[in-house]
Symmetry: C2
Subunit: 442 residues, 2 copies
């Protein structure tokens, strides 16, 4: 961290390019090779976890400098990223006033509006004139504030009365009062609102900043849109990883420890495997039928995977639509109807292709001299149609059911839906086979 | 669209809540029920597609009003959303100056920096004094501009020399020159940069706005962070839908036509089913072995799905890490090594659980008096371990290979990886079975 004594070997851009891929030790080394002013810039762009790593790696005498470089909300992130026993020490590095702000911010959960907000917004009183307000703003601008684009109008009890955009202030005649220029009808969020929800509020109202209020209507801070970009990205990553059939990782892929990653993945894999044990039971139930017509076994993977794939598509669509607010629980009838139609169409298409493919190029049926190719093609075709329809319906309903039961719909991942559909798909397949072949063989 | 003549039945918030779920006709009706000033607000919040719908639904005499309400970049979106033969008519509704701006913007692809940018940024000359600049800004603020936070310093040829934040201008003494206050070292993007890439630039540098330059360094516009939130969300949705094994939809779930949706899903389902036909061939190859030990058939779905699930996890992780820029092609060795370790650990865990589960509660083995439960448990345990290791390795490498070959890595969806792993998984399973059971039965 003492960039002044060492020669500069690395530029800001070079380090930024490789940073996400560097192991912790190399990060510290790389950071020390930056020129001093680059180092400050670079440090401020990092997230709380990374900043903490660098602060702890710095000589004790320099830690105070780095901590004090941070805005209160960022300092709060750093302290919260630290282990319990290091927190007091880190807080002690801050000056009195900032320490208080950090303590306030730390009282919020990291992923609700309070944890996301900055307390450094610009404020004026309603009875100021526009000229006074601009002068007062100019004074506030000298301290670090999050944005100058919006000025919030608070009464003596910190209650939010309205907002005036910089542009409005700038264009108004100087002797008007703030109260006459301000907009009173404004979008706010409560301090305990979940960050995903806050993200939706931003999207819906096309906002750049939103004030955060407590239960009594007092203004506690603002959330600005640059924080929301991170939230949107973070939530999408979480959903995507759940959709892949695992718990969400909490850090970039190459940064997560091997054991940590195995833990996040083993749970779901085990659950899914135990679920798949049911397929062995179902097949055991039809073992006699397989023994007399081994050819049936050949198409088991094909038939059940068609159901799984169709289910995976449907669940993915519904999960994402729920996350984006395009869909709600009460729409379940429309979704069901849609997926039954789409599933039927898809099932018929695949069924016909399946029949055609088997008739055109019969797979190795030698083990089944008892059964004619046409019968097999028919069994596969009908089963595929049924399984695809069933997969689409189940895949679409499952996330809605999970959501209804209070779980995260994203847990209805492709592998989870596939496992459920596999078990029922086998039942469909062997029932169809029994019906068609009993006739053929009887 | 003539809200003045009809009684107001619906508020802005009410309509906003139900909007994504309304069919087109009900949207037009709902929109007409808004109070006039609410209608304008509401209209401006919609995306280009929706705005176009409403404009086309409006009486001819009112279309001009709605088109002229739009900023040039939004008007360009509306025109681009329209059919070829409606475009001239829509353009004709704009006034001369805006029409020119719209034509310029339409020359860009919708999803690159040029298509995303606004041409309404505030600009000053380097030799102006700070006082002159602020006065000049105040004049520009009266027209509609995208943001006042940053002022761009251009030379006579529109080449970008530097940027000065509003805050810097505001704090500087009035007689300094802009050139002395401005920052020269700034992040820019070329006009043809893809929007996903632009999103990454924003994230990496924590930006609020970024200037867009042409090949000669002339400034064409700015992209602001509020557009980027939409981009991030859009790109995540696209990736998620591809990961679910289908083409990305271009509209909200309930808005896409049924046939359109079937088309987007049928392609991949067909390809996957044709791929799964290979499993039938592989199983046909081992039909004799199945005929002598039907019990082997019972565990086929279990074994191959373990491989598919493990592959789905690995591919999801790698695809998201690539999308977030946490991973690059050249890291493939590290990824391979990681997934081989994780796959081995996961394989061993699942293998042991599989053996234990079969020994504790043997499934219905009546069809296979020839084979002892212990042997079956061993075959399943060893195969599961191998298949999980193989799935993790393949799942991780496939997106990297696709990326290398110039395809979108997100195409390596869970269903796609599962299909590939199924075929090889069957080979592993029957090879292990042959090796272990030949000894047991010989």
């Amino acid at each position: 961290m003492d960039a002044q004594d060492t020669p500069t070997h690395v530029t800001l851009d070079e380090l930024e390019d490789v940073w996400p891929m560097l192991p912790p030790d190399d990060r510290v080394t790389g950071f020390r090779l930056l020129a001093r002013e680059d180092a400050e810039d670079f440090f401020l762009r990092l997230d709380g976890e990374d900043q903490l790593q660098l602060i702890l790696a710095a000589p004790v005498g320099q830690r105070r400098f780095w901590m004090r470089l941070l805005e209160p909300d960022d300092a709060a992130d750093v302290v919260q990223a630290a282990d319990e026993d290091q927190r007091a020490e880190l807080l002690a590095l801050l000056d009195e006033r900032v320490r208080e702000e950090v303590r306030v911010l730390m009282a919020y959960a990291e992923d609700d509006a309070g944890g996301l907000m900055s307390t450094r917004f610009v404020r004026v009183r309603p009875d100021m004139t526009v000229d006074e307000a601009i002068r007062y703003l100019r004074k506030q601008a000298r301290e670090k504030v999050e944005t100058l684009s919006y000025t919030y109008v608070l009464d003596a009890h910190q209650r939010l009365l309205g907002v005036v955009s910089f542009r409005q202030l700038f264009q108004a005649t100087g002797d008007k009062h703030v109260a006459d220029v301000m907009v009173k009808d404004l979008v706010t969020v409560p301090e305990e609102m979940d960050q995903e929800e806050v993200g939706r509020v931003f999207a819906q109202h096309d906002l750049v900043a939103v004030p955060v209020l407590d239960g009594e209507g007092r203004m506690k801070g603002i959330v600005t849109i640059d924080d929301i970009v991170d939230v949107v990205e973070e939530e999408a990553t979480e959903d995507i990883q759940k959709l892949g059939g695992m718990q969400a990782l909490e850090a970039p892929y190459l940064q997560v420890g091997l054991w940590e990653m195995v833990k996040k993945r083993a749970g779901w894999l085990t659950v899914l495997m135990l679920g798949q044990m049911l397929t062995a039971s179902v097949m055991g139930h039809f073992a006699d039928r397989i023994a007399t017509a081994v050819v049936l076994a050949l198409f088991v993977p094909l038939v059940i995977s068609c159901g799984g794939n169709s289910g995976s598509q449907a669940s993915t669509l519904v999960i994402r639509a729920l996350a984006l607010g395009e869909l709600r629980l009460k729409d379940w009838r429309r979704v069901l109807w849609r997926e039954m139609q789409a599933g039927l169409a898809l099932g018929l298409i695949l069924g016909v292709i399946g029949v055609g493919r088997i008739l055109a190029l019969p797979p190795d049926l030698e083990a089944s001299a008892l059964v004619r190719t046409l019968d097999v093609a028919l069994v596969v075709g009908v089963s595929v149609s049924g399984v695809v329809l069933w997969g689409a319906t189940m895949g679409a309903m499952l996330p809605l059911l999970l959501h209804r039961a209070g779980f995260d719909p994203a847990s209805a991942s492709a592998p989870f839906v596939a496992t459920l559909v596999d078990v029922t798909g086998l039942m469909i397949y062997f029932s169809v086979a029994t019906a068609i072949l009993s006739g053929a063989m009887g």
